[in-house]
C-alpha cells in the first residue's frame, strides 16, 4: 500500500503537469501518423504548387508565398486544436481532468506547447522549402519568417481552443474555420493591399490579427533588418494569441450544467 501522494500545488502553472499534458497530446498524435503527415506535407505541397502557378511572375510568388507561410500554420493549428479540444470536451476527459488537480493554465499551456512543437516542424520545413528550393526571395532573415510563423501557429491554437467552446459537434467545429478564418483571409491583404479596400473594410482589417501576421511576413520580405513595423506586428500577433488563450481558459468550466 502506498501512502497518499503529497498534495501538489494546484496554483497557477505547474511545469510537470504542463509537460505531461503536452507529452500526452503528442503521444495521441503519434498514434495517428496520417494526421501528422497531412499537417506537415500539405503546406509544402501548396507552396510547391503556388511556385509553378506563378511560374511567369516570381514577384507574385514572393508576396503570396511569404504570406502563406504565415497563414498555413494558423489554419492547421486552428483546425487541429479545435477538433482536439472539442473531443476532450465531449469524451468526458475534460470533466475528469478538471475534477483532478489540473490547472486550466496547465491544460492550455500543454496544448499550446504540443501544437507549438508541431508548428515549429511544419514551419521550418515549409520555410526551408520555400527559401532554398523554390527561390522565395527574402530580403530579411528566414529566422524571422519562422518566428512569425510560430506566433501564427500559437494564434491558431488559441483561436481553435476558444471556438471549440461554442461547437457541440465536429461538424460545427470545422464550420468555424470558414467563419473565423476566411474573413481574415480576405481582409489580411493577401489578395489586395489593405489600403486599397473600402475604408470600412480596411478599418475592420485593422483589428484582425491575421492582417498583422501577413504584414509581418511582408516586412521580412522587403527589409534586411527588423523594422519597427515588424516589431509591432510580432507584438500584436503574440499579444492576440495570449489574449485569446486567456479567453479560452475562461471557457473551461469546472462546474457545468
Amino acid at each position: 500500500m502506498t501512502t497518499s501522494a503529497p498534495a501538489a500545488p494546484t496554483g497557477a502553472l505547474n511545469l510537470s503537469r504542463t509537460t505531461a499534458t503536452a507529452a500526452r497530446v503528442l503521444r495521441q498524435l503519434r498514434h495517428d501518423p496520417r494526421t501528422i503527415a497531412l499537417m506537415i506535407l500539405i503546406p509544402c505541397v501548396m507552396l510547391f504548387l503556388l511556385r509553378y502557378v506563378f511560374d511567369g511572375s516570381p514577384r507574385t510568388f514572393d508576396n503570396i508565398g511569404a504570406s502563406l507561410l504565415g497563414i498555413f500554420p494558423l489554419i492547421t493549428m486552428f483546425l487541429v486544436t479545435s477538433i482536439a479540444t472539442l473531443r476532450e470536451r465531449t469524451s468526458g476527459t475534460l470533466e475528469r481532468l478538471l475534477a483532478m488537480p489540473l490547472g486550466k493554465g496547465d491544460l492550455i499551456a500543454g496544448y499550446a506547447l504540443a501544437f507549438g512543437t508541431l508548428a515549429i516542424i511544419q514551419s521550418a520545413l515549409a520555410t526551408g522549402l520555400a527559401v532554398w528550393a523554390l527561390d522565395l526571395d527574402v530580403t530579411g532573415s528566414p529566422w524571422l519568417l519562422l518566428l512569425v510563423a510560430l506566433l501564427d501557429a500559437l494564434l491558431g491554437t488559441a483561436l481553435g481552443l476558444f471556438v471549440s467552446a461554442f461547437a457541440s459537434s465536429e461538424f460545427q467545429a470545422v464550420q468555424f474555420m470558414p467563419a473565423v478564418i476566411f474573413p481574415q483571409l480576405l481582409l489580411c491583404g493577401l489578395f489586395t493591399p489593405r489600403d486599397a479596400m473600402h475604408p470600412a473594410l480596411e478599418a475592420v482589417s485593422d483589428v484582425l490579427p491575421m492582417s498583422y501576421a501577413v504584414d509581418g511576413m511582408n516586412e521580412v520580405l522587403h527589409h534586411t533588418d527588423m523594422t519597427t513595423t515588424f516589431v509591432r506586428d510580432v507584438l500584436i500577433v503574440g499579444g492576440c494569441a495570449l489574449l485569446v488563450l486567456g479567453l479560452g481558459a475562461a471557457t473551461l468550466r469546472r462546474r457545468t450544467q
Binding site: 500500500m1 505531461a20 507529452a23 475528469r96 475534477a99 468550466r253 462546474r255 457545468t256
Partner: protein, 276 residues
C-alpha cells in the same frame, strides 16, 4: 446481521482518530437542490454517507443519480443547499486528489494505450520527476486491480465497451482516493467480471478504508452494499441498510422493497392530489 451473500461486516461506529474529535461523514447533504435548465433535478435532499462503507445509489435512469454524483465531485453547476464532502464543501480544490470519480461513459483517451492513459492521469495526480517510481507502481497496481494487465499495451479505442469502462475505473483508483464515486461501473459487464469488481469494491472499502458511492440500476447489486440510497424523481425514497429495507417492507429482495416504496410514494402523492 443477516446479509445474504452480502458484504463483509461494515465498520459500524466510525473509530474516531486518536484526538477523539468526531470524523465528519464522507458526504453530508442538507437541503441539496440542483436545477438544470427548467428542471429541478434534485429536490432538497438530506442524507449522509458514512465513511469506510459501500453505499449504493439506486433508482431508475433519469432519477438524478448522475447529477447527484456530479454535485458530490464538484462538477455540477447550480447546486444550492449545503453539501460537505470529507469535511469540506463539495468542489473544494483540496478534494481533487482525495476523490476518484468514474463517469457513466468511459472518459479515457481512445487514441492512447491503457498504460499511456493511466500514466498521464497519474502524472496529473502526482506530478514531478521524483514521483516517477511511485507513479509506475500505482499505474501497475491499478491496471491489475481492474484485470487488464494483458491489455495494458492495447489502444483504449480497440477495447470492448466493458474493458474501456474498466480503464476508466482504473484511472479513479490511481491516487488511492478516500472517496470513490462510481457512476454505473458494472454496466455492460459479464457476471464474472461484475462479481470480481464487487469483490474489488469490498476490498477497497475494507483494506484501504475508502468510502464508495456506487450507482446502479441493477437491483441485485444492491444486496452487496452496506447501505442504500433509493432515489426516484430527484427525491430520496429510502436511506437504510439492505436488510432493514427488506424488513421494513416485508420483502425478500431489495428489488421488491424498492417497488413497494415506489408504490407507497405514488399513493401518498395521489392522496395529496385528491385532498387538494
Amino acid at each position: 446481521m443477516n446479509f445474504k451473500n452480502g458484504p463483509s461486516e461494515p465498520p459500524d461506529s466510525r473509530p474516531a482518530p486518536s484526538g477523539g474529535e468526531p470524523v465528519p461523514p464522507a458526504i453530508d447533504a442538507r437541503h441539496l437542490t440542483v436545477v438544470r435548465g427548467p428542471r429541478t433535478v434534485l429536490r432538497a435532499l438530506d442524507f449522509t454517507v458514512p465513511r469506510g462503507q459501500i453505499t449504493g445509489l439506486l433508482g431508475p435512469s433519469g432519477c438524478g443519480k448522475s447529477t447527484l454524483m456530479r454535485a458530490i465531485v464538484g462538477t455540477q453547476d447550480k447546486v444550492t443547499g449545503t453539501l460537505d464532502v470529507l469535511g469540506r464543501p463539495a468542489g473544494h480544490s483540496s478534494l481533487r486528489t482525495r476523490i476518484g470519480y468514474v463517469t457513466q461513459a468511459p472518459s479515457v483517451y481512445d487514441d492512447l494505450t491503457v498504460r499511456q492513459n493511466l500514466d498521464y492521469f497519474a502524472a496529473i495526480l502526482d506530478p514531478g520527476r521524483a514521483a516517477t517510481d511511485r507513479r509506475h507502481e500505482n499505474v501497475t497496481r491499478a491496471i491489475s486491480d481492474v484485470d487488464l494487465t494483458t491489455h495494458a499495451d492495447a489502444l483504449a479505442g480497440n477495447l470492448s465497451g466493458g474493458q474501456r469502462n474498466r480503464v476508466s475505473l482504473a484511472v479513479a483508483l490511481l491516487g488511492t482516493p478516500e472517496l470513490l464515486v462510481l457512476d454505473e461501473p458494472t454496466v455492460g459487464l459479464d457476471p464474472v467480471l461484475r462479481r470480481d469488481l464487487w469483490q474489488l469494491f469490498d476490498d477497497i472499502a475494507a483494506s484501504r478504508g475508502a468510502t464508495l458511492l456506487v450507482s446502479s440500476h441493477v437491483m441485485d447489486e444492491a444486496e452487496r452494499c452496506h447501505r442504500l440510497l433509493l432515489m426516484r424523481d430527484g427525491e430520496i425514497l429510502a436511506d437504510d441498510t439492505p436488510a432493514a429495507l427488506r424488513e421494513r417492507t416485508h420483502s425478500d429482495t431489495v428489488e421488491t422493497a424498492f417497488l413497494h416504496l415506489v408504490d407507497e410514494a405514488a399513493e401518498a402523492a395521489r392522496a395529496k392530489e385528491t385532498t387538494r
